[in-house]
């Protein structure tokens, strides 16, 4: 795999070849497909009934209908987006195929772009049925959020890619012994991203940390939209700016970790 070149020699054919590789894999394995659908469906059913129960017993939540289900769906976009990216990367580690790719003309940027496309495909397979379940079981239409949903989605998917790129670099550098980071890192930011409660709930010093995370802006924005009927574009622009910095930093980290992996020979082993 040749060094990063953002503007020269980017090949759509090579990106397409990698997407095709993951598509073949997905279509050849029904457990992989089922898993994509299973967890989002379980999430929405569980949280949907919780929201329904609370709405029957609390005035605030009755007014703020959908904040819990909306938060669950948006959290899943963030979490599944990162998993979709990272699992496609891990497939190469599990298959011991990374050496073949690294030795091919595939560039790191092309590899990462193909992983981003795959995260969108996997997300669509998992989350679209989830939103339909929310609509039919709990009468919550996430698409009713309208254009703001696009801003929420873009910001969440950019964050998920940044995390996905960074953890893939860590696995590349440290081998499959670091695989657990893929599954757990996003949960480390979960309490700080204020998914199910407003930022004001946090201690003041922790609020500064929360505002450093783009998803915090999205969940605050969602609550503003559902409770106050206000679309906070300022929050979305702030999140976009932080996301841009995070994406650049994660690309840089990935390349640094790739270089380090080449230095210590871990590309040859790839194991623990």
């Amino acid at each position: 795999m040749t060094e990063l070149s953002l503007h020269r020699g980017l090949s759509m054919q090579r990106i397409g070849a990698m997407i095709l590789r993951y598509w073949y894999l997905l279509m050849s394995s029904w457990p992989r497909l089922l898993e994509l659908l299973y967890w989002p469906a379980m999430q929405i059913i569980t949280w949907g009934f919780i929201q329904h129960y609370i709405a029957l017993n609390a005035n605030f939540f009755a007014r703020a209908g959908g904040t819990l289900i909306g938060a669950v769906i948006l959290w899943d976009i963030l979490f599944r987006g990162q998993l979709g990216f990272s699992i496609s990367f891990l497939e190469e580690m599990w298959a011991r195929n990374l050496g073949n790719l690294m030795m091919s003309p595939l560039k790191p940027i092309e590899f990462l772009l193909s992983l981003m496309v795959m995260s969108l495909i996997r997300l669509a397979i998992g989350v679209i049925p989830m939103t339909l379940l929310a609509l039919f079981l709990f009468h919550f239409n996430i698409y009713g959020l309208g254009l703001p949903l696009i801003a929420f989605f873009c910001n969440l998917i950019f964050t998920s890619w940044s995390v996905g790129i960074f953890v893939s670099g860590l696995v590349l550098r440290n081998g499959l012994g670091a695989e657990s980071i893929v599954w757990t890192l996003m949960f480390a930011i979960m309490p700080l991203a204020c998914i199910y409660y407003p930022v004001s709930v946090l201690p003041v010093w922790l609020q500064y940390v929360a505002w450093a995370l783009p998803p915090t802006y999205v969940f605050e924005g969602m609550r503003a939209l559902l409770i106050e009927n206000t679309f906070r574009i300022d929050l979305m622009l702030d999140a976009l700016a932080i996301n841009a910095a995070l994406l650049v930093a994660s690309f840089w980290a990935f390349l640094a970790l790739l270089r380090s992996a080449k230095k210590n020979g871990s590309l040859l082993s790839g194991g623990e």
Partner: protein, 268 residues
């Protein structure tokens, strides 16, 4: 004269000869305190088949990995098909390929799917025709639509070889290509490599523990021990130098440190 001595009299990367397929100049790789490769130099002409011999831990795989750009050298330089590695790898990765026991093809994908993906990565023109040609040459037709994970070891090796040949590489790096194959399949693979070299004037660098394989295929042998080049010549010249009739005997002499006495005896 050791390989290092001889190599130092050959053109180096600094005074590069573009006719060389691979030029390695004073290459060193140190992992913490271990010298995996310790100041080796050699130059391989285009169209040659060279065997890289040595026991486990001799530095063969690390050397090949540095040539491919998968491992960065601690010091020294590598030039492949006239381009410095890894800095100019974009110019050469499409013109070379490799096969190694350290990598696999995706198991759930069929042989055809795997070859299609690698063909696209290498921008192979008329890909369907090329896959059909390889399937015919390497006898893959019977299982081309079977998942790679369901193939026998011999079939997998042929598929890995097909992947290594998909882009008709000018330079082929093979790390123990016939390990774990039965003698019949191994012989068949060697025959195919010979034919490929002749038909394409390709350069092949072959790391192997199989001395018969090296004797049969290679114009030249580089023997490595503890990261250094112990000897570097034609198989015949090396056997004569050690006063031995097979490379296996030479290998054992080198591995067991019986080198100097034998060389002196042969010289007398």
């Amino acid at each position: 004269m050791t390989g290092n001595d001889k190599a130092s009299s050959r053109p180096t990367v600094a005074g590069s000869t573009s006719s060389a397929a691979i030029e390695v100049d004073r290459l060193v790789k140190v992992y913490k305190q271990t010298h995996a490769v310790d100041d080796i130099s050699f130059s391989l002409p285009r169209g040659s088949i060279t065997g890289l011999l040595g026991g486990n831990g001799a530095g063969k795989t690390t050397t090949i990995a540095m040539i491919m750009g998968l491992v960065l050298p601690t010091s020294g330089r590598v030039q492949v098909l006239g381009h410095r590695m890894p800095e100019e790898s974009a110019a050469v990765l499409g013109r070379m390929n490799f096969e190694s026991p350290y990598v696999d093809m995706p198991m759930r994908l069929t042989v055809r799917q795997n070859l299609t993906i690698f063909g696209k990565l290498y921008a192979v023109k008329n890909l369907s025709d090329r896959i059909a040609e390889l399937a015919d040459d390497l006898d893959l037709t019977e299982f081309i639509d079977r998942a790679n994970g369901k193939l026998s070891a011999g079939q997998k090796t042929r598929v890995a070889l097909a992947k290594a040949l998909i882009n008709q590489p000018e330079l082929l790096l093979l790390d123990e290509p016939t390990a774990s194959l039965d003698p019949d399949t191994a012989d068949w693979v060697r025959g195919h490599m010979e034919r490929y070299r002749k038909a394409n004037n390709a350069t092949i660098l072959l790391a192997s523990h199989n001395m018969l394989e090296v004797e049969r295929l290679c114009d030249r042998v580089i023997i490595m021990k503890r990261g250094r080049v112990e000897d570097d010549d034609t198989p015949e010249a090396i056997m004569a130098r050690y006063n031995r009739t097979t490379l296996e005997e030479v290998f054992l002499d080198v591995a067991r440190g019986r080198v100097n006495g034998l060389k002196e005896e042969a010289a007398r």
